[in-house]
């Protein structure tokens, strides 16, 4: 057990799995970075934010592959390699770049097993950075996990902390289906105690970071931390919350969400992805359909506005859901009285 950053936890997961299984390879833009450079240093970057540093040194050029800036071909190659005996972990530098390779993910990797009558196995992991908060602006800040969640055949992982990231990434690499593993770029320096040995966290099993009686908060990725902060403040006013971190949006632990909402009767969902058709919407529909009678208040979703991510800090800070906005939403469902009663 030792203190590790989100970045280090991910690096360690990759390193340990690459040691365990020679079929695990990495590929992506500048994952070593940079091949062919005039300094002669082949892993100068180790990933644009240093997540894969040191892996080329340990595993060599056959297993840590810098790619040209050609997402369609190398993401497609990762899919083809996965279907033919390797276990590639391909990096899409920013999830926003998925526009350049969506076919290879959506129409190829995701669908091989089904289209080929169960005879294909595509153990592919695609890692990508997501999230707003770095002034990276509209084309480098999106949270596109709803896009991938929508596609049958993909599994989608959104870790909320260093401990979660290591266990979920090792699970992803060992999983035989195509997995999209999304890392919030703002969290790379966040630290917590993480076991030194390899461990896995199963998909489709939510984590309850705290349990309470009054309101259920479902939050994704970085929003779990904000939800917990809001819950701390609310506790002082006697409002106790359950906070659910689903960990994976596909498969989604619907059982835990429904059980908790049945207990509290009140639900707030915090989702930093763009509001139309996002996970908050998906969970809200699930709960409205399956736990309608348990609800004592309307479901509230805390999401950004329906805009591209703005550049200026003054605007980006309004865009990303905040602890204050979560707190306000919880208070509103906690104090809700139906019009007939009021």
């Amino acid at each position: 057990m030792s203190k590790k950053s989100f970045r280090q936890a991910i690096n360690e997961a990759l390193r340990q799995e690459m040691r365990r299984d020679p079929r695990v390879i990495l590929m992506g833009e500048d994952v070593a970075g940079g091949r062919g450079g005039t300094s002669g240093v082949k892993d100068a970057w180790g990933g644009v934010l240093g997540v894969t540093k040191g892996l080329l040194t340990e595993f060599g050029e056959d297993r840590v592959l810098d790619t040209p800036i050609t997402e369609a071909s190398y993401i497609g190659a990762a899919a083809g390699a996965a279907a033919t005996g390797l276990r590639p972990v391909a990096e899409l530098m920013f999830v926003d770049f998925v526009g350049c390779c969506l076919d290879q993910i959506m129409n190829q990797a995701a669908k091989f097993r089904y289209m080929f009558g169960g005879k294909a196995r595509t153990p592919l992991v695609i890692r990508a950075m997501y999230g707003a908060g770095f002034n990276a602006a509209a084309q480098h800040s999106q949270a596109l996990y709803p896009l991938f969640t929508h596609i049958p055949g993909l599994k989608v992982v959104v870790p909320s902390s260093p401990y979660e990231a290591k266990g979920l990434l090792i699970e992803a690499i060992r999983d035989d289906d195509p997995v999209i593993f999304l890392e919030n770029k703002v969290m790379y320096d966040d630290e917590e105690e993480v076991p030194d040995d390899p461990y896995t966290i199963p998909f489709g099993e939510a984590n309850l970071t705290r349990e309470g009686d009054d309101v259920t908060i479902v939050a994704f990725g970085r929003m779990v931390k904000f939800a917990n902060e809001a819950a701390d403040r609310l506790e002082k006013d006697g409002i106790s919350c359950t906070v659910i971190d689903p960990r994976t949006t596909s498969p989604l632990d619907t059982g835990t969400i429904l059980d908790c909402v049945t207990d509290t009767g009140r639900l707030v969902i915090v989702d930093e992805s763009s509001p139309r058709c996002n996970l908050a919407t998906d969970v809200a529909a699930l709960v409205a359909e399956e736990a309608f009678d348990a609800l004592k208040a309307p479901i509230r979703r805390v999401c950004p506005p329906h805009t591209p991510v703005p550049f200026a800090t003054a605007l980006e800070s309004l865009y990303v859901p905040s602890t204050e906005k979560i707190e306000a939403a919880v208070r509103s469902v906690a104090s809700y009285k139906a019009k007939a009663e009021a």
Partner: protein, 321 residues
């Protein structure tokens, strides 16, 4: 060039099987019994067979929406293919994929593909697997002149060269990308494009099995020996439309009739092998008859094979559930 007798017989049988299979589908599709779309390979047989004659089950191929010919050339069984096209549970993909997604990974057939340009990146991946697993195999992407313009294809030519992959890119140039001629849609030419990537370029006549066999052999040997990728440009023609139902109003009257009359790869093959005394006409006749029986049986079986059931709908989305 000396080609062993068994290879000649096998190749003729393979081409004849494709021709019989596709011509039969042309007839059966018109009855309305076959669901969805089919894209027929008649006229192009020598390409798939001439290339795949150099491949084993360990080698990988990826195909296009016009994939029946590549499947047969790679050894996928006709029964399973016909049942798949008829949407039956006994199909090689259990009725889940259909004509455009016919695949058999156990034979290194990575699938027909409904996305133009879908294959080349996958073949870069398969080639990477072969290279890293050191199994001596190659990966071959079949694609058309239409797909040759796709970004995914051009990126794959680059990537295969940069990574020195054992990949062969076979451009089956039939002059049409759907309803639009390649003379309109393709800037430059395939030869200069390959040269632009520093990739060896080979060219052959797709109506002549021997031309394809010789040329593909060189390209495949180049890749198999660790020298990196190669492109094979095959000139050929398709006799039917882009899809069955396409009236080919973009083709001049008589264009297809002339192709059938003067550029039939099966006729060319028969002429050459009999005149050179390599095979007897009777041996070829026997194969023709056997293939006809095989395709007849496949159709008859497909028509009565069980349909998939509701359970099949939900199965095999994931490995784990």
């Amino acid at each position: 060039m000396q080609i062993a007798r068994d290879i000649l017989l096998r190749s003729y049988r393979s081409m004849r099987t494709i021709r019989e299979f596709e011509e039969r589908l042309h007839v059966e599709f018109a009855t309305g019994e076959i669901p969805g779309f089919v894209h027929l390979y008649c006229g192009e047989e020598a390409s798939g067979v001439g290339v795949c004659a150099h491949l084993t089950d360990t080698d990988t191929i990826a195909s296009t929406h016009r994939g029946h010919g590549h499947c047969i050339a790679k050894g996928v069984g006709v029964d399973g293919m016909m049942a798949e096209i008829y949407g039956r549970q006994t199909g090689v993909c259990r009725g889940k994929g259909g004509s455009m997604h016919i695949a058999d990974l156990s034979l290194g057939m990575l699938g027909a593909n409904g996305i133009v340009g879908g294959g080349p990146p996958l073949i870069c991946g398969a080639a990477l697997s072969h290279k890293l697993l050191k199994d001596g195999a190659v990966a071959v992407a079949f694609f058309g002149d239409g797909a040759s313009n796709e970004g995914s294809t051009l990126e794959s030519l680059n990537l295969a060269t940069v990574w020195n992959l054992p990949a062969v890119f076979v451009v089956e140039d039939n002059g049409y990308g759907e309803a639009t001629a390649s003379s309109y849609a393709c800037a430059g030419n395939q030869k200069d494009r390959a040269a632009g990537f520093g990739m060896p370029y080979f060219e052959c006549d797709g109506n002549d099995f021997f031309s394809v066999y010789q040329t593909a052999g060189e390209a495949i040997t180049h890749a198999r020996n660790g020298n990196g990728p190669a492109m094979v440009h095959v000139h050929l023609s398709r006799w039917y439309g882009h899809f069955e139902g396409d009236a080919m109003t973009y083709r001049a009257d008589g264009e297809v009739a002339e192709l059938r009359a003067d550029h039939d790869c099966l006729v060319n093959f028969r002429k050459r092998v009999t005149e050179a005394g390599l095979l007897e006409a009777s041996a070829l006749d026997d194969l023709d008859a056997a293939v006809k029986d095989e395709v007849d049986a496949a159709v008859a079986a497909a028509k009565v094979a069980p349909l998939p059931v509701e359970d099949d709908l939900l199965k095999d989305v994931y490995v784990s559930y």
